[in-house]
């Protein structure tokens, strides 16, 4: 995936390369320092790096005892999160891996139990069929049922009233429901050896990595449902998810894009995205540099300074925004400037659509907004020429904005479109309760 030239500069590319050769502890330290130095920045890069690292961690882990695995992943995860608490995707990936291990462990125990008791071979087919229809590794609402039942049989802590009701007959109707996490490649009548737990977990992490690679395309597949002909769409920053979404829509529809340049922090990438001649020196861009820009597809793109958003909002039909992470209450942590754009859209009754992969969905509730906001390089706001001012005035360059949920009308994730109020449900589908704060 990364080009060879990237290996020279510290970043995702070089990290993934070094992962194969370096010992685990060095890699962990490596990622921690990359996160601390902000050499890995964007949500997806962070998520990918974390997933690869965890796969590595699990694979070299001597023990196959699930409890030990959990402990190990937790300790690594804690260190990663401490390195960059505002990259919430790191925590999300860690949580999902933890959830995987827990599920596998429970399945195992259960399988042991059921194998001796019922020994049914054909039953697991039902949940598997569900999963095959759904997206890989994303337990959707259908498989949730089986999962709830399964959990209820193994643990006394219930997740929903629904599973409470289904409890009595859970053991009979769904004696072993192992297929929910890693549907492919599971041998139905596998032995209860704990070696398999590790293999399953590794497979599951592989699927998380696959998901990270496909998420933008999956989101883009909903584009045609949301963009009609001759629309005027406003967007902000050079988010790849948004670009892919728009490009997909551009294959069938004609519309106009107004692109706010998100000046001090992301304008260069935005300019490159908009004009299509990316310089390729930025790690984030290099992954997407092969992608056709919108203008090449005959879409008129109007680049505006951020300040002109209000002036133009009255002509905009839809605002499509990318985000840094999504919180469980439906609020966003997104690039600075997003909040005023969303607010201006609300004032003009323009729908705001947020496109985001499920991996950005964090189980964190924002009690302290300020802690979520990161401040960046002040020299981007006040360049070197005005250095004399720096002593006298306080220059601020926030990188993120908190956008409250009421400003967002619709979320489009790789699972489909959701109202902001529905997000907590997806959160509970993806993360185990015990992992939310680990």
């Amino acid at each position: 995936m990364p080009s060879t030239s990237l290996a020279l500069t510290p970043g995702l590319g070089s990290f993934l390369k070094s992962l194969k050769t370096h010992p685990v502890d060095t890699s962990i330290e490596n990622l921690i320092s990359l996160l601390k130095r902000r050499q890995i920045r964007h949500s997806r890069s962070c998520a990918t790096a974390t997933a690869y690292l965890l796969r590595h961690v699990v694979s070299v882990c001597k023990t196959s005892d699930p409890a030990k695995l959990i402990e190990r992943v937790q300790s690594v995860g804690r260190r990663l999160m401490a390195a960059q608490p505002r990259e919430m995707v790191v925590g999300n990936v860690v949580r999902r891996v933890l959830g995987l291990i827990r599920d596998e462990a429970e399945d195992d125990r259960e399988a042991e139990f059921t194998l001796s008791e019922a020994g049914s071979e054909s039953q697991p087919q039902t949940p598997r069929a569900f999963d095959d229809a759904s997206l890989p590794l994303d337990r959707d609402a259908l498989s949730l049922r089986a999962e709830g039942a399964e959990r209820s049989s193994s643990r006394p802590t219930l997740q929903s009233m629904f599973s409470l009701l289904s409890h009595p007959d859970a053991d009979h109707s769904l004696p072993s429901t192992p297929g929910t996490q890693s549907p492919n490649g599971r041998i139905p009548g596998h032995g209860p050896s704990s070696k398999d737990v590790k293999a399953e977990v590794l497979e599951g992490i592989g699927e998380i990595i696959d998901e990270l690679g496909q998420v933008d395309d999956q989101i883009a597949s909903y584009a045609l449902e949301h963009i009609h002909s001759n629309e005027i769409i406003l967007t902000h920053t050079s988010s790849t998810t948004v670009q892919k979404f728009l490009v997909k829509a551009a294959s069938k529809r004609k519309f106009t894009v107004i692109h706010a340049e998100s000046f001090p922090n992301n304008h260069e990438a935005t300019h490159a995205t908009v004009s299509g001649n990316s310089s390729g020196d930025d790690e984030h861009l290099s992954f997407e540099s092969f992608q056709k820009p919108l203008i090449a597809l005959g879409i008129t793109v109007i680049l505006i300074p951020d300040s002109a958003v209000f002036a133009l909002m009255s002509r905009v039909n839809k605002v499509i925004l990318g985000t840094h992470s999504v919180l469980a209450n439906g609020g966003l942590v997104a690039a600075a400037g997003t909040r005023v754009i969303a607010r201006a859209a609300k004032v003009h009754q323009t729908p705001v659509v947020v496109v985001s992969g499920v991996y950005k969905l964090s189980p964190v509730y924002p009690f302290d907004f300020d802690s979520l906001i990161e401040y960046g390089d002040a020299s981007k706001v006040l360049p070197y020429e005005d250095g004399d001012l720096v002593d006298q005035i306080d220059v601020q360059n926030p990188i993120y904005d908190y956008v409250p949920a009421e400003l967002v009308d619709l979320y489009i994730t790789n699972l489909g479109g959701h109202a902001p109020s529905y997000l907590y449900r997806i959160v509970s589908d993806h993360y185990r309760k015990e992992d939310i704060s680990f």
Binding site: S275, L294, S307, F310, A311, V347, L382, P398
Partner: protein, 555 residues
């Protein structure tokens, strides 16, 4: 547009009055013929034709550089022509220009290479200066060293040429009505009636040296004062009649440099009214003295004193411990804050600035030098700055009579954020505005009435390496490439353009199909976001603007 050649008339005809073209130089003959030829041919002949540098310059703005074959002719073309001939030629040129514009429109943006493409600087503006010099030398020679403009600096002349050519393609459809003519790039082609002070002011306005509604108003009035002082009524007319037309030449010139502000318009209207009311029987000197007095009074009453009054009363609204948010760099807000500071109030100022003008920087510097506690961020930080704000002070470009605030683009975002704060506590938004900025126009959105600035201003100017003085690998490799490029024809072009592209991806935005840049100057803030308008006549709600405007114009 025909003015340039008319202007050129006196200088050349003075040297050789009414001579029937003594030696028809070889370069001049084609241009003579083209007077009869309708469209296409006259286009090529047009550029060598300019008989003096002024008109050459004017043309350079409006059309591409000539083919290099014609280039050497230009210097030899300094032949005096008779006024009649010049006029004829002007007519032919005008026709040709119109035809060319039509042609351009037909060709649209796609056919860049069309028949009009000059030999030189089409796709590689900054990197092949030698070629440009050879290709477009004829017209560029005439250009005086105009200090490079901020933003559009490096591409310079060729940029201007291309700009005109592709304008149709690059204008944003919704704002189509606002793309009138390009802002004037040189003083060439200004009418001979235009006073030097006005000429200079025009350039200052264009380059935002004089920027801000009241500054522009004052500067205009001062320039007009000098116009009045140096004015003598020609025989056979009265001052009241002729001075108005004389002034309107100045006004037309100014408006081609940058569209006039509301305050300028109001001031000019008042001045014209006072000229018209001059009694024809008063001697010229007395009348001029009255007019000068009027201008002085107007500046004093409407702006200088008004500002003091506004600053005084707005400063009263500032309390100890306040956090005041302001947007961009309004002079009246600056005065207000400084006044409040002088009164010993302790407060913090948070300035929000925007690209591309960065007017807030000046304000930040002024306030910081005065010892205020200043915080500075850009538009992206509005929601953070507004979080702990207690008041918002805004300057105005104008107040429309439906109570809306017409001000620097981005103001509406600040006002909106102040009114929609998460906690539900609204921050009062106070607008400081002289009544001279009130207008009877109404505005509902920011699209019908606005001003479009040159979109090249949005293309980031100099790369930061230049500031540090460090040699940058790109620039060190460039000269070598360049030399090769000039010697061995356009083979090195791709590498050249990629080098320039690496500095900013937008450098060649005009050559990029479907990409448009929009740089509007103002936006309209809804009246409900404004709590109070502080004027020299008192503090009003925005709905009172129309009433005050009517009162102040009836007086």
């Amino acid at each position: 547009m025909a003015d340039p050649v008319d202007l050129a008339l006196p200088s050349s005809s003075a040297t050789a009055p009414a001579q029937p073209l003594p030696k028809p130089a070889t370069e001049n003959t084609p241009s003579q013929q083209t007077q009869n030829l309708p469209i296409r041919d006259s286009k090529t002949a047009k550029t060598p034709a300019p008989s003096d540098k002024q008109s050459g310059k004017a043309k350079d703005v409006s059309k591409p550089a000539p083919a290099s074959a014609d280039a050497p002719g230009a210097t030899g073309a300094d032949k005096p022509l008779t006024p009649a001939e010049l006029k004829k030629k002007a007519k032919a040129e005008k026709a040709a220009r119109r035809a060319k514009e039509k042609l351009d429109r037909e060709q649209g943006g796609a056919g860049t290479a069309g028949g009009l493409a000059p030999g030189g600087g089409q796709s590689r503006p900054p990197t092949a200066p030698k070629k440009d010099a050879a290709g477009g030398g004829a017209s560029q020679k005439g250009q005086k060293a105009v200090p490079p403009r901020r933003g559009s600096g490096p591409t310079g002349q060729t940029g201007a040429v291309e700009h005109k050519k592709k304008k149709e393609d690059k204008s944003v459809a919704v704002f189509g009505h606002l793309y009138g003519q390009q802002r004037r790039t040189t003083i060439a082609g200004a009418g001979k009636e235009v006073h030097p002070a006005v000429l200079a002011l025009g350039l200052q306005l264009r380059d935002y040296v004089v920027c801000g509604s009241s500054a522009r108003c004052v500067a205009t009035l001062l320039a007009f004062k000098r116009v009045v002082e140096s004015y003598t009524t020609p025989m056979g007319t009265s001052l009241a009649r002729h001075l108005t037309t004389h002034l309107s030449h100045q006004i037309t010139y100014l408006s081609t440099c940058r569209p006039l502000s509301i305050s300028q318009g109001n001031a000019i209207r008042a001045l014209k009214l006072s000229i018209a009311s001059v009694d024809p029987s008063t001697p010229e000197s007395a009348a001029k003295a009255t007019l000068c007095d009027f201008i002085d009074n107007f500046i004093r009453e409407k702006i200088t004193v008004a500002d003091q009054v506004i600053a005084g009363s707005a400063a009263q609204k500032v309390q100890d411990g306040d956090v005041i948010v302001t947007f961009a760099g309004s002079s009246i807000v600056k005065q207000t804050l400084l006044t409040a500071h002088k009164q010993g109030k302790r407060f913090r100022v948070s300035i929000i600035d925007s690209r591309p003008l960065f007017e807030g920087k000046k304000l930040a510097r002024a306030l910081a030098n005065a010892g205020l506690d200043v915080q500075y961020s850009l538009v992206h930080g509005i929601s953070h700055a507004i979080k702990d704000a207690t008041k918002v002070f805004l300057g105005a470009h104008a107040m429309t009579s439906n109570g809306r605030l017409y001000s620097r683009v981005g103001t509406a975002l600040v006002a909106m954020s102040a009114k929609e704060r998460a906690g539900g506590v609204e921050v009062p938004v106070i607008v400081c505005c002289e009544t001279v900025k009130f207008t009877d126009r109404v505005a509902l959105d920011s699209i019908v009435v606005n001003e479009i600035a040159d979109a090249d201003e949005l293309v980031s100017a100099a790369p930061p390496q230049q500031v540090t003085g460090l040699t940058d690998p790109v620039t060190t490799t460039k000269p070598a490439d360049n030399k090769k490029g000039t010697s061995s024809a356009p083979t090195t072009d791709p590498s050249d353009s990629s080098l320039t592209a690496s500095s900013s991806p937008l450098t060649n935005w005009k050559d990029t199909p479907n990409l448009q840049l929009l740089n509007i100057m103002y936006d309209v803030t809804p009246a409900e976001y404004v709590d109070m308008v502080v004027t020299e006549m008192g503090s009003l709600p925005p709905s009172a603007v129309s009433i005050v405007h009517r009162m102040s114009t009836n007086m």
